[in-house]
Amino acid sequence: MKYRLLAFLAIAALPLMGFDCINDPFFASINVNPISISYDLSGSNRNFDKTSPQITTSDFYNEGYSLSDVSVYDLQISTSGAPSLGASNCTIWLGTNSAGPWTQVVTCTGDWSVFNTPQSIFSPYFSQPNATALKSLINAAFAGNRLYVRVSGNAGTGGAIPAGYAAKLTLFIRATGSLSN
């Protein structure tokens, strides 16, 4: 009983000493798990246009958080398959519906083999991204818990792309979130 009284006094004393003490509201910056989509290009025409399956965005972060601000802070593309298909280019689109509309985010250009090593959007192989449109789209996607990523472009010249050739796109996303009660 004496311990309980002392504990109570100690607890009661803390606010009297100016102990506030958790910031409220408190927003943590959430590292969303990287969203990676692989596109199998084998058998495709050299001009390709591939759309991802539906991505359920809530699968990529701690469900205990309510997100209020989502932003992409990097985007990487890598390719698999050798020998090189030659000069290639891509356009990356994001949407919240598989039928569109689509928001064009960025374009890339370079030899197929360059992308055998993952290339970041900060590399010289990417154009200036449309950051404003991307931010708006990614926030809408997370609000609706649904995201589609479309990649179109060209992989060198010649016949159908041989088996074993694929492209992988990874989105790195950060969000501001508060713990849901």
């Binding site: 958790i22 943590a28 959430i30 798990n33 959007i121 950060r174």
Partner: protein, 304 residues
Amino acid sequence: MSMTGRKSLGLVLLISALCVVLTPAGTVRAQSDLKSTLQQYSESEVKGYIQPVADLFGADMNSGFFHTADIAKMGFHFKLEFVGMASLVQDAQKLYTANAPTGFNPGTFQTATIFGGTGSTVVDTRTGFTFRGSDGLFNTSYFPLAAPQITVGDIYGTRFLLRLILTPEIDKVGKITYWGIGAQHSISQYLPMIPFDVAGHIVFSKLSLGSDLISADGVSIGVDASKKFFILTVYGGLAWEKSSLGLKYKPDDVSLQAVDITLDGKQSFRFKAGLNLGLGPISLFGDANFGSITILSAGIGFGI
């Protein structure tokens, strides 16, 4: 549900250690917020954010041990004390330089530590991409710790100290274990010509919280001096100390490696000065400690 006294004291420590609001629900929320916030950080990111806790908690752990250097060569001494410590949060501990993601220009930015305000956002100059730091979690000008302790002796001029808090598993918080063990040995018994009392001390402390999420260690080795004037004892001391804070968790981002780090507290030396008022079996004491961190300590003791 009725709470036991031991559990209540454990909560006092928890509340103090984690700077929690003053309800059990708040306690759980702070622990939950802290854990969830930490889980957003990679090992390299979390160091700057949490370093002030390592500095301040370590300084607290190494405070409030002894309030006199007057130890009999042989005699009976027993005191139960409740000690509160509070290290002052400096403005410099509210911001740290964080790394922006690879490729960003600028590559670093200033944002809130766990004691800071709103997290800052860095904007990459080429892409316009943004990256935001977390908000500070604790809004406080000091970081407190409270603990019960027993001092017992005196045998061959030596007095022993024990701090101990053990709690059962607390929902969403886990088990708390905090102990400190040490001894103070009279030096003045060998130097009877000195007009005041002098003693040396060594104390080891350890805390673990929440299924290994947080652990802390401390050691203090120092010299204490005191002089008694009727019911008032003036005391002071110098001490070398070391502390560390360990963090273990798995980040939410599955692409990040599990975090298992140890951060050293920055305080390594302190000077303290204080007063101890003896009112029969009750004593009231308080001291100020100066080093790279300033700590205030006060408490009440029962015994002889």
